[in-house]
C-alpha cells in the first residue's frame, strides 16, 4: 500500500514498509546519519537522523520510524540543526579525534558530519581519555581513539559475516568495542579476517594495516551489495 507524506513540504509517496529515511532518500532528500549503513539493521543510536513529525511531541529517528499516511516530516529545522551540531561536538570531545594524523582524513563520515553541521569549534571540554590501539591482527588495525561506538562493525560482523567476533563491552562512556573476550584482535579465533568491519567503519577506527594519513579508502557500498545479493538470492548456485 503506497503512502503519501510530506517531507519539508515536499509531497512524496512511499511504500508502507519503508522508513522515513528510505522514503527521503528515494526523494533525494538528505537526512544525516552516522550509525545507519545500508545493508545492516538500524539501531537508532546516533540520533543524527532525528526528525520532527507533526502530531508527535517527540523527535523520531528517521531510520527506524515507518512512514504513515499523511505524515508531515521536517528534517531541517533550526532546532534539529542545533541538536545535530551538539551531538557531533560531543563525539569530538569524547575521544581523541585528530583528523590531521588519521587514516580516514578526507574520507570520514564524522569529519563530513562536522562540516555539514557547521562545527567551527567544540564548546565542550575535550576529555582526552587514554585508549588503546590494537595492531595485533595481521591485516587490520583498531584505534579506539577514533571509535564513535556506532556498532556498525558489530552488526556487519554478526549480520553479514555471521561470526559475531565483535561486540561491545562495558557501558556508558566506558563502552569499548571488543573482539571475542576482549583479546587482541589477532588472537580472536572466531575472526575470519573478512574485513567487513573495516568496510563498515565510518571513521578511521578500523583500518587496513599499512595505510597512513588520509589513505583510507571507503567501500561500505560492498556491504549493501552483499546484503542485497543474499536477500534476493541473485547467485544461482
Amino acid at each position: 500500500m503506497p503512502r503519501t507524506l510530506t517531507i519539508n513540504g515536499q509531497e512524496i509517496s512511499a511504500r508502507s514498509d519503508q522508513t522515513i529515511l528510505e522514503a527521503a532518500r528515494e526523494a533525494n532528500i538528505h537526512i544525516p546519519t552516522l550509525c545507519h549503513l545500508d545493508g545492516l539493521t538500524d539501531v537508532g543510536a546516533c540520533r543524527m537522523c532525528l526528525v520532527e513529525v507533526s502530531g508527535s511531541s517527540k523527535l523520531l529517528p528517521a531510520c527506524t520510524t515507518r512512514v504513515q499516511e499523511g505524515m508531515e516530516v521536517r528534517t531541517e529545522t533550526e532546532r534539529l540543526r542545533a541538536y545535530r551540531r551538539q551531538i557531533i561536538e560531543l563525539l569530538f570531545a569524547e575521544r581523541n579525534h585528530v583528523c590531521a594524523v588519521c587514516v580516514a582524513n578526507g574520507n570520514c563520515e564524522l569529519q563530513d558530519a562536522a562540516i555539514a553541521v557547521g562545527m567551527d569549534h567544540v564548546r565542550y571540554d575535550y576529555l582526552f581519555p587514554k585508549l588503546g590501539l590494537d595492531l595485533s591482527h595481521e591485516r587490520f588495525g583498531m584505534d579506539h581513539n577514533r571509535c564513535i561506538l556506532c556498532t556498525r562493525c558489530v552488526r556487519a560482523c554478526d549480520q553479514l559475516e555471521g561470526a559475531h567476533t565483535i561486540d561491545v563491552m562495558g557501558r556508558g562512556a566506558r563502552s569499548l568495542i571488543i573482539h571475542d573476550m576482549n583479546v587482541p584482535w589477532g588472537e580472536a579465533t572466531t575472526c575470519t579476517s573478512c574485513g567487513k568491519c573495516v568496510m563498515a567503519c565510518p571513521t578511521g577506527a578500523l583500518f587496513k594495516q599499512g595505510s597512513t594519513v588520509a589513505e583510507m579508502v571507503r567501500d561500505a557500498d560492498k556491504l549493501a551489495f552483499l546484503r542485497a545479493a543474499r536477500d534476493r538470492k541473485v547467485w544461482n548456485v
Binding site: T165, D167, M181
Partner: protein, 185 residues
Amino acid sequence: MTNPLPPLGRAAGNGAATAKPDDRLVSDKRYKIIEATMRRYGYQGHGLIEALHSAQEAFGYLDDFTLMHIARTLHLPPSKVFGVATFYNLFTLKPQGAHTCVVCLGTACYIKGAREVLAAIEAEYDVKAGGTTRDNQLSLLTARCFGSCALAPVLTFDGETIGKVTPEAAAQQIAQRMMAIRQAA
C-alpha cells in the same frame, strides 16, 4: 551436534596454561552448579545472565575460562558473553578480597553523609572504592541503593547490613567484624 566455537585454551587465558580445561570442569564441582542453571534454561541463550549469576556466586568472580565455558555451552559468541558480563555492575571479572564492604551511595544515604563514610573507609584501609586492599582482605564497593533508606547511611559487610554509620565509627565497625571473624577462625 558439533560445537561452533573454537576449543578452549587459545582465547581463554586464566587457568588454561596450567591444567587441561576439561580437567578443571570435572575436578571443580562448582561447575556442576552452573551446569544445572544452564540446563534449567534448556542451554538456550536467554539463560546467560542466570548462568553468570550462578558462576559469580560459585566462584566469587568470572574468569575467562568460566566465561568461555558458558559461551560454549550456551552456543553464544564469546564476545557477546563478555559484553553481557561487563555490562552489569554486579558481575566482576576480578577476584574479590576475603571480605566485602559495600557502601550505599543512594540519595538518602548521600544526603546523610555516605560520601564522607566512604572517604573515611578509603583512608583507613588505603583502598579506593571498587578496589581490594593489598593484603586481599577487604574489597570496598559502592552500591546505588539497598532500599534501606530509613537506616541511612548504610553499608553492608559480608552481606550484613549496618545502618546509621558515621565516618568516625565506620572503619572501626568493619575492623571489629574482621577481627571477630579472624578470632573465630
